[in-house]
Amino acid sequence: MSETAEHTGHHIDVKEFHPRAQAAIHNPKIRKNFRSAMDGLMSKRKAAFEGWDLETLRELGANVRLRALANLPDLLEQLEKKLTENGIKVHWAVDGDEACRIVRDICKARDAKTVIKGKSMVSEEMELNHYLKAEGIEALESDLGEYIVQLADETPSHIIMPAIHKNTGEISELMHEKTGTDLSNDVEYLTASARQQLREKFMNADVGVSGVNFAVAETGTLCLVENEGNGRMTTTVPKCHIAVTGIEKVVPSMEDVSALLALLTRSATGQHITTYFNMISGPRKAEELDGPEEVHLVLVDNGRSSIYQDDELLDTLRCIRCGACMNHCPVYTRVGGHAYGTTYPGPIGKILMPHLIGLDEGRHLPSASSLCGACGEVCPVKIPIPDLLVRLRQESVDGDNLHPAKVRGHGAKRSSKEALIWKGWAWMHASPGIYRFGTSAATKFRALQPSKAGAWTDYRTAPKLAAKTLHQRMKERGQ
């Protein structure tokens, strides 16, 4: 698809947000695909929480995440100790490149040529598939949505439903062209074809790579949430399993998991639970007959420890990647995930990405919001997304002395013309004589007021000055 082809591959140009958003808005197919999907997801979420004390449950979700973050370094050490005892090898990576190298080295040590992958947003962050390809290792996505996106040489447009931007017809054409299946609008047929194509790959892959939804410190357990069974295949059939996760995904105990799981699937797709909840606590034991011989966990920082330094920004790390904020975002629903040009789109992307790539590159992201507040209201762990958007907007323009800048590219969006106008505005309002002169002159010559005011009037009518100032009218009323 031409409108998305430009931001596949290694480099994603976030700065092109505006033209891409324009293109998406004027693309009826994109709008229809997203609109119908998101409408459905909103009502399903609502139904799934019926009969629950949702506010108290969200409160618990937020507290569980906060408690984990408050003890993050200790929990990571406990997790490492427990996993090691269980026979899982733990690796640490300060950034995506290091994480990619770790995965490559494990593959090379096993002389692995093929990798089968379960869905993992961290691996998207790392651009792992590109990296492995350059190293001569084939990485194939096994989640149906990711598989489709990979066939199209695109990136996911939603963190839960990667191929949501495509309709059945487009997927049918793509599969026909790339894999030789018959053209068909029968979803059962298309799904069965993908099953057939991937079964071979599961059996022959040397290494399986997966993400992690929750890593449990107490028991040394990696939890994976999925519906398809591809995650179980990926983590069971190949002789080596490598899990990758952000360092923030650790929680103290299985009890914490029970609270987060109750929120995650209902918020994401309106399911009470997914088909599979897979808990991995070790490689195959001597007496066991299947499962991987080796299990690795790569703990990826990639900017997270920097977010961790600031009390407010820290809230971003609570995210459990349910996607509810994007499902409910009026902007996301209209432009779709690719317009953002970032790994994580939608409201969470608008606060997370500026941390990861800096405000100089991501300066448009915090402004791509109507600040309607829907994202904050549905967030299962109560991340104050609108507040953080406002703060990042402020930081992107002038920095704020109250908050020492924590995000790279502070002030990147600052315009000297705009700053000068506001300076003049402040000066005028602080000097009564000038203010009176200015307002009376403005009302007198209101006929000369231009009807266009830059981008503001592209979609709005310019406000007209009143014939009399408020001061004049109050004076006439004798007050």
Partner: protein, 217 residues
């Protein structure tokens, strides 16, 4: 300095200082303590809503029902546990209305292609179920390996009604999961499914197309 130390040191020397640890009250997860019949009813409703199939059986009747279920599907064979009483009972029954019984008693490497291509159905035990979400708890082991419940197109699970819990939270507390977990534990709530193509549900995408639960009451 290693990456590990770099990361831990950055987290420990946080510029924002110590973080407050909030209290976590898990009571909101509790559901009313439904009686067994209501748990069964809810479990059944939930798992059927995601395409699972439930059969109510007794200790004496489950083999008959299993034979029917397999016959209607034309299953040529059934993978059974070697040690577990489910497998023992089936092999001892020596019935001619059951398909060929297979045992998973050698490492996967030696018969992977056969498992993937030739096995029609499997039957496993469970460590209980969860009424609220319609989930089965499975802890695979050397007698019932991980792929038994994943690769064959039909998975049959035996659930004792007396082991049906109300919530996941209750189940993990009652079974004391905090004390230690097996190499792999699972909650299974229906057959494999996807809605990745235009939100249209399709079953059996990578795992079983059918999940059949025999509830022994």
């Amino acid at each position: 300095m290693s990456s590990r130390e770099t990361i831990l040191q950055r987290l420990r020397n946080r510029t924002g200082g110590e973080l407050t640890v909030p209290e976590c009250d898990f009571s909101v997860l509790a559901r009313p303590d439904w009686p067994t019949n209501e748990r069964i009813e809810r479990f059944e409703k939930l798992i059927e809503s995601v395409h699972g199939e439930v059969h109510h059986v007794s200790e004496d009747s489950w083999v008959d029902r299993l034979a029917e279920v397999l016959n209607t599907r034309g299953a040529r064979n059934l993978l059974v546990p070697k040690q577990h009483e489910i497998g023992q009972t089936l092999r001892a029954a020596d019935r001619d209305d059951l398909p060929e019984l297979l045992i998973y008693d050698e490492p996967i490497e030696s018969w992977q292609a056969h498992l993937f291509n030739e096995v029609d159905a499997s039957i496993t035990s469970t460590r209980g179920g969860i009424a609220e979400t319609g989930s089965l708890i499975l802890w695979p082991n050397d007698d019932e390996p991980r792929l038994m419940s994943l690769v064959p197109p039909v998975h049959i699970a035996v659930l004792k009604a007396s082991e049906l819990y109300t919530t996941f939270h209750e189940a993990m507390q009652a079974q004391n999961w905090a004390a230690g977990m097996p190499t792999n534990a699972l909650l299974i709530s229906g057959p494999s499914k996807t809605a990745d193509i235009e939100q249209t549900l399709a079953y059996g995408v990578h795992g079983p197309k059918e999940l059949i639960v025999l509830i022994i009451e």
